[in-house]
């Protein structure tokens, strides 16, 4: 049994990322939610997702966020997404940070060692643990 299966429930931000995956958005989970899924005992504050920069994927992201964002009026237009760095969205599962610039810069590199971890009956794409730690060191100090 894997670490995450032993736990009674998933942190809400992990479910937020899982819904994004169910909605067909291509992304890689990083940050504390990714570490939690890798079995690291860590409090999960939000879901950090590196978004694949393809135009079609950004459209899917826009549709998915329109479905589950709490404040629709704060969502940018889909055509603005390719120029945003980070899009912070408050959802009923907590805060989701869409790392759009990181996707434009590092998508291919992060994909090379990414894994898929099952949450409920959805495979959630998660960056490799070493990559998640490296990003944390770089951006959180």
């Amino acid at each position: 049994m894997s670490a995450q299966q032993e736990r009674p429930g998933y942190p809400a931000p992990v479910l937020a990322a899982t819904i994004l995956a169910a909605e067909g958005v291509s992304f890689l989970l990083v940050g504390s939610a990714a570490l939690w899924l890798h079995g690291v005992p860590i409090p999960v504050g939000d879901a950090d997702v590196v978004i694949e920069p393809a135009e079609e994927n950004l459209r899917r992201l826009g549709d998915a966020l329109a479905e589950f964002a709490l404040r629709h009026q704060e969502l940018p237009r889909v055509r603005a997404l390719p120029w945003l760095n980070v899009l912070r969205v408050v959802t009923s599962y907590g805060i989701v940070d869409c790392l759009l610039e990181r996707g434009r810069l590092d998508w291919q590199k992060l994909c090379q060692s990414a894994v898929r971890i099952p949450v409920a009956d959805v495979d959630v794409p998660v960056a490799a643990q070493a990559d998640v730690w490296a990003l944390r060191r770089r951006f959180k100090g």
């Binding site: 169910a22 009923s92 907590g94 409920a120 009956d121 959805v122």
Partner: protein, 322 residues
């Protein structure tokens, strides 16, 4: 920021403007006039200054209110405040004390320490006014009081509205960044058929929460493909009623479970909906005991006990009014 009260520059200017117009507790002046004065003094346009003025009068924003608002100052939900041409504002007793401290008529008062700045996306949480006053008195009267005792006198942050605060208080008091969880009060009705949500966290919008709950109860396009996820995320909600009352200044959502679900099961799931709970990141500039000691040390040559007594009276006056 006013060095002698810890209150921000714009806030202090608003208090000065109110005072210059003769606004006092129960003697209100039109907000438009106040904002005109603010613009004359610091050039801040009325639209921006009004947001700050509104916050200073909103009881769900900060423990110690500096402005007494009259008229529609908005709600915690989506109901906005009336335009500044149609609202009135006066100084509260605490507002008067802050002004007196800023002008040197009174020794400094720790209002910035009490109110924090989380309500404006800052990292300093608010604390119970009486607890901060007590802790500062301890530092003045017993300089060797231990840091542990001081942290215990201050207690957890005071996020108002009666919401429950949990988290690593020790880390917060030690000046380390941490995330606190704020939870609304979620209880069962007497007949155990409904779930009642009230005392929302200050950074939650009850109207948004109602919208979210309804949204979480509807069918998803991916439900058939991912029944496991749907089962985990779908809210078994049969009916939702907003029984908030602006007259009583209360927010109350009444949730009726869907057929086949008990109110207890629904309650469990509601506790995991963002909005029913929220999180807030806090990071004090240094440890809480050090902040208290530094505050006393910085003003050691002034009559702090007198100013703390004046502030305590203002706190009592606010409590009596509410």
């Amino acid at each position: 920021m006013g060095d002698r009260s810890g209150v921000g520059l714009v806030e202090c200017t608003i208090l000065e403007a109110l005072d210059s117009l003769g606004a006092r507790p129960r003697r209100h002046r039109r907000s438009a006039k106040v904002l005109e004065r603010v613009e004359e003094r610091i050039g801040l346009a009325p639209g921006y200054a009004y947001e700050v003025l509104l916050d200073l009068a909103r009881p769900w924003k900060m423990p110690l209110l500096l402005v007494d608002g009259q008229g529609n100052f908005g709600s915690r939900g989506n109901d906005p405040a009336a335009n500044y041409r149609y609202t009135d504002a006066g100084l509260t007793r605490a507002g008067e004390v802050v002004l007196a401290a800023e002008r040197g008529e009174l020794a400094p008062v720790p209002v910035g320490l009490i109110n924090g700045n989380v309500y404006r996306e800052g990292l300093r949480p608010p604390f119970c006014p009486q607890a901060i006053i007590e802790a500062l008195r301890e530092v003045i009267q017993r300089p060797r009081v231990t840091s542990k005792d001081l942290a215990s006198i201050v207690g957890p942050p005071c996020f108002l509205n009666g919401c429950t605060v949990t988290g690593d208080y020790a880390a917060m008091a030690a000046g380390r960044p941490t995330t606190l969880r704020l939870e609304a009060r979620v209880t069962m009705s007497d007949d155990h058929r409904r779930v009642l949500i009230e005392n929302f966290p200050p950074n939650a919008n009850p109207d948004e929460v109602a919208h979210t709950l309804a949204d979480r109860a509807r069918m998803r396009t991916w439900a058939a493909e991912h029944p496991g996820l749907y089962g985990r995320t779908h809210l078994p909600l049969g009916d939702l009623r907003d029984e908030s009352s602006q007259a009583r200044d209360t927010d109350l959502l009444v949730c009726v479970p869907a057929r086949g679900t008990t109110a207890e099961q629904l309650r469990e799931q509601l506790m995991n909906v963002y909005g029913v709970y929220t999180t807030v990141r806090v990071d004090l500039p240094r440890s809480l005991p050090a902040m208290l000691r530094n505050w006393v040390k910085a003003h050691a040559d002034e009559d702090l006990l007198n100013s703390l007594a004046a502030l305590e009276n203002a706190v009592r006056s606010q409590a009596a009014r509410s």
